[in-house]
């Protein structure tokens, strides 16, 4: 998994198969893990680096998950937290796909509406649906606007 670097510390080694999420907004790595459903009780082999120096971003977080490739809706959720993130799909130690994240125009089933009176917070067979606007996320059912603290509303 890891080897010693010349200064005596540990360097995270490359993964054989899985996903490397790079350029995560510093401090958001743990929220990214939450979105991916990775907790202390899940079995993925995981590496996390936080507040790593980055020429481009100043500081950034990195997450490596072995033996897992991300689904489109997981990428949508990550885009909300870390709009500059880069997803690298690794197979047999090689990067076979590298892509940025993009917040879609409409988020379906990604964010829970904070309005307790919204019909999407009932037993009705519909997913929450938000359009992404410059000023925030707009619920297409009840017109609620989420302007900040989006991480706390991600399903």
């Amino acid at each position: 998994m890891s080897r010693k670097d010349p200064s005596g510390g540990l360097i995270i080694s490359p993964i054989k198969n899985g996903t490397v999420i790079d350029h995560i907004t510093a401090g958001e790595a743990l929220n990214v893990l939450r979105i991916l459903g990775i907790t202390g009780s899940t079995r993925e082999c995981l590496s996390i680096a936080t507040n790593v120096k980055s020429e481009w971003m100043g500081t950034k977080d990195i997450v490596k998950v072995e033996n897992r490739e991300l689904r489109a809706e997981e990428v949508d959720r990550i885009a909300l937290l870390a709009p500059h993130a880069k997803i690298n799909i690794i197979r047999d130690y090689k990067v076979v796909e590298k892509k940025g994240v993009e917040i879609p125009e409409v988020l379906r089933g990604v964010v829970r509406c904070p309005n307790p009176g919204c019909i999407t917070n009932t037993n009705e067979p519909v997913a929450s649906t938000f359009e992404v606007l410059d000023k925030g996320l707009h619920c297409l059912y009840c017109d609620w606007l989420i302007k900040d603290d989006i991480a706390n509303h991600i399903i």
Partner: protein, 298 residues
Amino acid sequence: MYHIISIRDFERSDLDHLLDRAQEFDTGNYRPGLLDDKLLALLFFEPSTRTRMSFAAAMGRLGGKSISVDSVEASSIVKGETLADTIRVISSYVDAVVLRHPKEGAARLASEFTSVPVINAGDGAGQHPSQTLLDLYTIRQSMPIDGIDVGLLGDLRYGRTAHSLALALSLYDVTLHTVAPGGLEMPANITLELRERGMEVIEHPSVEEAIRELDVLYVTRIQRERFPDSASYYDVASSYRITTDLLDDVKERLMILHPLPRAGEIDPAVDCTPYARYFEQARNGVPVRMALLHEVMK
């Protein structure tokens, strides 16, 4: 399929067209029996007098018939049925559905599961577009909507009629004045949206300060349940009460509107002044709803 869900879905030309149609129905300029082969479902999962009866009256005037569910207790909702399933089934019986529901977004959801047009008759603290249309219609009976000053008074935080009306008025050249008790002000995101739509919005600490500038004063009910106790409710409610004393030196064409029911916001003595137009406004519910019903079922 044409649904009437939210005032946000309307362009100004849509509103003007519906108001023109309402005027034709109001003046008797229409062919009797326009909807005589149509059946309307009135699904009211919250209390209503004016809205439910005026939809039924409008359908009857057009020659159509209506069937209704008047409460949650009388429906399969109590057995755990979802609104989606209820709408799927009921819409297979009728030609249009009018829905009032306590949850915001209920009418939008219904429009996704129905096989016939849906008209939103109020969804929680959300939208009530047919009320807004009759508000606009009542204003337009007396004056052009462009170039006027409209005051909104009362519970502007939870009052769906105030939100819908403000959004509709932002499609016209209207200056909006708001007066609300502390904690019941217009939500910041709605005020922002109105300003982004180019509307001038002026907040006033008291109705006395604003009333002489107004062409229309739209009063809404201050809901007792928003206050921790009766004393604080009466303190606030009494300071937002429209009395004849307040009406000295107002504009001659001032009209006072209220979606009704009122709970003391307007002194009954005001009813006898030429400014009181709320009963006429309620009457206008019928021609406006005739226009809506005909539009979605024609």
